[in-house]
């Protein structure tokens, strides 16, 4: 699953528009992921200037 490290995230949106599925969104200054759309491809993890996203093995 895609894990958002909220303590690192700066809620900037750089990851939002690289997600080919449109699974990410900034809602009330929080990054949210729609887990049923996310296919854990990891593309968004590369866009983050801070390293706040991680694809983990957890279900």
């Amino acid at each position: 699953m895609l894990q958002i490290h909220r303590e690192i995230c700066g809620y900037c949106g750089a990851c939002v528009s690289v997600c080919p599925e449109g699974a990410l969104e900034l809602v009330d200054a929080y990054l949210t992921v729609e887990s049923d759309i996310c296919r854990c491809c990891g593309i968004c993890t590369k866009a983050c200037p801070l390293g706040a996203l991680e694809v983990t093995d957890e279900e």
Partner: protein
């Protein structure tokens, strides 16, 4: 908030503000919604803008101009510096804004012109009738309502979710999304009238690092590199921190911002039935500099003008809104975007050595104007051997 407007603008950045301001001035009923609790904050920008461009929208005001820039310096990987001086060059360099205040001023103008403005109010879905966009479902403090509009202007910036919800692919490839981080640093020795750009694969691979003066002893110091260049142990933040340690170890960081800056080509089409897309959402950012404030304002204003005509004629179909798309593409802005995209594509192929050679060939020149073409002409005049090197670029430009 009413349930029906002529124009609904989603997003309160410079693109949305100019759209709302212009539409209201043209006598339309306008609603501008901004999902953040405050217009202009947090700012995601280095705040640089050309003087003439800015003045074509609004008279500069010391309340939101932080620095009047007279020089730009481009520092090559080996330290060779190309100085572009306003006095010598005769061309304007620009201002560094205080965007928190600037963005508010633009929205304030929109409001004064008659536009309704709602903050902490976000679009959560478009209202669609078949393929025609008829407004948006908006959410304000947990309460949802329909806001119908003859034309909806998506000015929601880099995220560009609204157009995506309407079925338009706004995805940015990793190579074209600049992953940015910036510190506002105080108590440092800088030239308060200079904007400096540092290049090189060691400093900012395929991007650049900037030091934009924000007053006597403070500056926006930031970096943008393609998202594809971020490595787990070497992200944009790591490059910037290293630069800070080496150049401004005693600077005080009083603000830290992050953001994405799309340096792709614009969307293939920026209109649909009942929908217009402006600014970063339309991907009209300068691919070389990453600058998008001016282009957001240009597209915002033009979109509102075209919307007003379409609404007056009672036809807000894609076809009726097309003059907006064609308008900005055929104007100087569209042509510059296309040319600068090709220039960027060329520059990202350059090794540090080639960048140094280029910089050495133009060091010390007094340019008559600060344009890409002027730079190229001078390089070739001074160092005809560079013609071969620049073949790819000249080919791109002609």
């Amino acid at each position: 908030m009413k349930n029906e407007y002529d124009v609904l603008v989603v997003g309160g950045g410079p693109g949305g503000a100019l759209a709302a301001w212009t539409a209201a001035r043209l006598g339309l009923s306008v609603c501008l919604i901004e999902k953040r609790p405050a217009i202009g904050a947090p700012v995601r920008c280095a705040e640089g803008i050309g003087k003439e461009l800015l003045k074509s929208f609004i008279e500069p005001d010391p309340r939101w101009v932080s620095a009047d820039i007279k020089r730009a310096r481009i520092v090559a990987p080996d330290g060779t510096t190309i100085a572009l001086d306003e006095n010598k060059a005769g061309a304007e360099v620009g201002y560094v804004l205080d965007r928190k205040v600037f963005d508010r001023e633009l929205v304030w103008q929109a409001s004064k012109a008659g536009s309704d403005v709602f903050v902490k109010t976000r679009a959560v879905a478009p209202i669609m009738e078949g393929r025609h966009v008829r407004g948006a479902v908006v959410e304000c403090c947990g309460k949802r309502q329909d806001v119908r509009a003859k034309v909806t202007i998506a000015a929601d910036g880099v995220e560009a979710k609204f157009a995506r919800w309407c079925g338009i692919d706004t995805t940015i490839p990793l190579t074209e999304m600049m992953s940015c981080i910036q510190y506002l640093v105080t108590d440092i020795d800088i030239d308060p009238n200079s904007n400096d750009f540092y290049l090189g694969n060691d400093v900012a691979p395929q991007g650049y690092l900037w030091v934009f003066a924000k007053g006597e002893r403070s500056a926006n110091i930031g970096i943008g590199i393609p998202a594809s260049k971020n490595k787990p142990d070497m992200r944009a933040r790591d490059y910037l921190d290293r630069f800070m340690r080496e150049n401004f170890p005693n600077g005080k960081i009083i603000e830290c911002i992050f953001g994405g800056d799309p340096v792709s080509r614009p969307l293939p089409c920026t209109v649909a039935d009942g929908l217009m897309i402006v600014g970063d959402a339309a991907r009209v950012v300068d691919p070389i500099t990453g600058g998008g404030i001016g282009n957001a304002m240009i597209t915002g204003r033009l979109a509102a003008e075209v919307a007003a005509k379409a609404i007056a004629q009672g036809d807000t179909s894609k076809e009726a809104l097309m003059p907006y798309d064609a308008g900005w593409r055929q104007a100087k802005m569209g042509k510059t975007l296309e040319r600068n995209y090709k220039v960027k594509e060329y520059f990202i192929t350059l090794s540090d050595e080639k960048m140094n050679t280029l910089a050495q060939s133009i060091e010390g020149i007094n340019f008559s104007e600060i344009t890409v073409m002027a730079l190229l002409t001078e390089i070739i005049k001074r160092n005809p051997k560079m013609l071969l090197e620049l073949k790819g670029l000249t080919h791109a430009l002609i």
